[in-house]
Assembly symmetry: D2
Homo-oligomer: 350 residues x 4
């Protein structure tokens, strides 16, 4: 941490800062600049970053030197983490694709879509039973009935399941039905939820908040790891910007940046980021080319009748085409797209 003193700082003001740093467990090193004094504060990373120093007389600003995250940092763990879900591995050579409807609407809908996406090569079935909706008048999800349908679809198809938890007290219930627990974008900084999922210990898919910096996203993951659960998969799904043409702006740069800073695997959701199914294909291609470890895609067999997010859902036929293209781009970046191995196969697409 660097403390920059004001041009006008007096000797006793400087001493007071040094004294306060010492009380906090830091050693201070003075740098006498041409115009002003700068104090380098040296201490163990575990000393909490102090917030009040800016307020001492004579202090201009305080500049942190080190990133605030620890357990998620690549400096702590050089090798990319592999998060295992049954036979599947996020962060390995093979890409992992989650696909399914935005919301679980009924069993027939879910099983139909599950079979179609499995036939097209998807590995994991996604589907929301608890739906966070901007309007209280929109469909809010089937809740536990929806979870049970997901479990039945897993039985039918052999695909593991990922679904969102909204409320910390539902964590255990959702964990009974689901293989991966998803933290939605709006809940990225729902800290009671993060702690709860950290304690449950099942793999967590952590979506980036639409207004969260990459650093804040990694700090949210740090909450889960700090509870002892390091099975975290990050998911970039677009950030909020001034551009109205897309629902969000996919921050494709986040993929290589997260890879530089952290050992956690990261996947992309091209449907929520764009809000428009036509962009799902080019954005999926871009994501894999940029180094993403997988994709999360919304698929609906009748998008125009979907209870939620129809305009950003692909038909099974379009999804199949997307998977074929992704399979071609993967080897260019040293990855592959291996079909799911479950005995109970999906319905054939022909």
């Amino acid at each position: 941490m660097i403390v920059v003193m004001k041009l006008s700082a007096t000797g006793s003001e400087i001493e007071r800062v040094e004294q306060r740093l010492e009380e906090m467990g830091f050693k201070s090193h003075l740098i006498h600049g041409v115009e002003r004094i700068v104090i380098g504060a040296v201490g163990e990373k575990k000393i909490a970053f102090p917030t009040g120093l800016e307020l001492l007389p004579g202090v201009e600003k305080v500049v942190p030197v080190m990133a605030p995250y620890k357990l998620v940092s690549r400096e702590v763990r050089e090798e990319t983490s592999r998060v295992t879900v049954g036979d599947l591995v996020f962060g390995g050579e093979s890409l992992v694709v989650c696909a399914g409807p935005c919301a679980v609407e009924n069993e027939e809908q879910l099983v139909t879509i599950a079979r179609r996406v499995k036939a097209a090569g998807a590995h994991i079935l996604r589907g929301g039973a608890f739906k966070p909706r901007t309007s209280p008048y929109s469909f809010q999800g089937l809740e536990e009935r929806g979870l049970a349908m997901l479990a039945r679809a897993r039985e039918e198809t052999g695909m593991p399941v990922v679904t969102e938890v909204l409320n910390p007290q539902d964590g255990d219930m959702v964990a009974r039905y689901s293989d991966i627990l998803q933290v939605g974008a709006r809940n990225m900084q729902n800290f009671p939820l993060l702690k709860e999922l950290g304690q449950i210990g099942k793999p967590v898919l952590l979506k980036r908040g639409p207004a969260a910096t990459i650093e804040e996203w990694l700090m949210a993951a740090e909450y889960i790891l700090a509870e002892g659960n390091d099975a975290v998969i990050l998911c970039e799904r677009g950030i909020r910007t001034f551009e109205p043409a897309t629902r969000n702006t996919l921050d494709i740069s986040a993929v290589p940046l997260v890879k530089l800073w952290s050992h956690l695997p990261v996947i992309i959701d091209p449907c929520h980021s764009s809000g428009y199914w036509r962009l799902a294909m080019p954005l999926s291609m871009a994501a894999v080319a940029a180094g993403a470890d997988g994709l999360m895609i919304e698929v609906h067999h009748r998008p125009e009748e979907a209870l939620c997010d129809g305009p950003q859902s692909l038909t099974p036929a379009n999804f199949q085409q997307l998977m074929r293209s992704v399979a071609q781009v993967a080897p260019v970046v040293g990855r592959c797209l291996v079909p799911p191995t479950g005995k109970r196969g999906g319905e054939n697409e022909h």
Copy 2:
């Protein structure tokens, strides 16, 4: 709702849209433009806004005509709502000022600050017992012990108390201690929490999320009103923009806009929006001049030692100065700043 058809839309595509609108309960009206067809869909406001129309062949885009909120709308209720907390009224002629520390740290700290802010004219005591922090290694609040200290500070000073609820399952507990339940900015779209607070029925202070549009903020309030609780106070606390000089950008325009669109009272938090105590005074003045119904201010008697957000906290002396200035600007906009009436007075500032 307006459905704009593509230049190339065929007659049968137009018919299919009309048919689908009819199934949904709308009547359609065709407008034959010079270049293209536009379909006006007429229906009761209670019909859910359909999401899949954009996907029908020949449709270019769908434009909603009406705002999605209902209960919070000024069209539904012309008069400004008054939210009553004991003797105090948000939305009346007199401004209401909430002040206190960011976090409850211990009883001595809380009572000291409470007395000082009351003496300076604050009406409501704020203080966090559950603290949502970006880092899992930062102070997370005293939880129920902190709530008990708030209750004791209320006894000491006669000031009602506002504090944040993070977890829906803590709602009842917090409601036992607090007069107003605060939804923090990160939780603005924590829908289980909104529903819970809607059911508890105590006044709710709903902070705007840093990436939430004004419309989304009103929709979050709609969740609470839809549960039967219309005692909602809105609080603008800055939005996230590209400007790094302030922690957030105070959206001062939100004050008059919310007043145009909704009947709910709205207050301003100049400390979180700027992240810098020196801006609290000019931003408070601006807020009142723009029509805000009150303020929420962070005050700490030793900001440089605060466990949370010291740099944005005012000293009691600076807070007193702020209150004097606010008292002068209030009458210019037809408001006043009445001192608190509780029998148990705060400590005198001299």
Copy 3:
């Protein structure tokens, strides 16, 4: 400047950084932290900030310590600058209000509006002769004919004139007609234009770009001062954010921040920032309460027929009301609103 070395930096990498700093004229000071080395680089402010250091092996990041602006900085000049235009002073006790139509449409329109705004107390006449429009098919301004009309309106009313320059080669021509040369928001970083206006030497009104940080805005002013012209008035007119309810988001915090960092006067344009005339009044009140040195307001006697920006223009009657309210809020913050002194009076409003 602080150079933070990587955890893995070797001794020879550190030496290379020190050597490079020395070549550039800096002295280096090593701080041996618990985990890593940090190098403080000390040098005269006039040494250019080096861009390539991050690329040397072993370097993690480079953190600048000082703000990049000099001439505009309050550290260089403690007293607020006063920019004089005839009898008027920006940055003094009295607020200065510029008012007039978005675009000069014809002489009758301009003179009518000029008389009305003068009668209401405006000091300076605004009006665009060169109009930067998003669409090439929109009205682009009357160009030199419009300038001549502005000059005639000045003769009629005695009001000084402010108008925008779009093209550096028009600088001299505009300066023959106008008392203040305006740099529009889209041109804040049009450096040839800034240099040209720096050389012409007349007062410059520098609008903040919709995507410019406050620091970049001050750097744009620095361009003008660096050419020897320190008569610069800053004008905040909203920044681009995700919020669609207003055309831009007025960054009210910029007013007190600019006052802390710079000695230049700063005014507010509430019309462009909101895009909506109904917000002009509350935002003007907020601006003055926050410490702004003046206002720039769009006024049109028939807004619904304006060739440009009608929805954000006030009628003369609404403008008069705004001026009355502003006159009341000014004394609260130690300012006043003195009516214009020109012999040739405006038309009386009764």
Copy 4:
């Protein structure tokens, strides 16, 4: 255009709107909704979009139905435009890569880099002679001397040249030296410059402004086409968002969106968007995978000594590696990367 009337609109208010629409050349069609009246206004696309309608009594809002651009629209021209520069074609099957230093520093530097990038497969040499810099104290470019060096580098290597024009009055001069005239991001809405380049008639590379919507970017291109020059190449280079980890946020979705809306070719600049050379490779891969027609890459043989933007410049060796990877991803999306054909070859990289 759709005019939504207020709930409270009276019959005579509706008539007045209809009358005003008629005066403007529109025909109106009333839709009687359950709660309110909506008026569809039908007219030729060439009728200017009216700005004052919102101000008529009883009007709630005005919703445009059609995009404001015409000549750049894919509705007007279905086939992708091909912009030809010598033997090269932007918008064809083969990708076009522009590479070179941020700024022309001296002839030796420029020719060295030019030979290296040509050897690696670049088609066009980029290099700035006029440099728009945030600080007036930063290197501002060699101006005409720099242009002459670019021309000599072209002679040496046979590569066409692209360079930025800052000032409209320099347009002709730059056009004498350069094959493509670049409009920098800060000048995207410098309308006198756009008109000038429209008239000169040489190919224009139009960078997206950091705060410009895709629609505004297309409108800027429309300015150039409206002057009779349809040789416009769009270049996405990142937008300004709250994320501080990258200099800008590359809006990768803009590539497929521009392809849907417009017939103009679009390339990507991964260096300016990220500000960090390590991201240039993954972002270039992403751009090509998403359908971009080419790339613009900053290359410097000694980035750590570059006078401008060193941290985002690749070494020739890294650039060569990037080109090899791009050549592999191109065929996956039906494109190719053909080496330059000039007789005067670049220096071999071995």
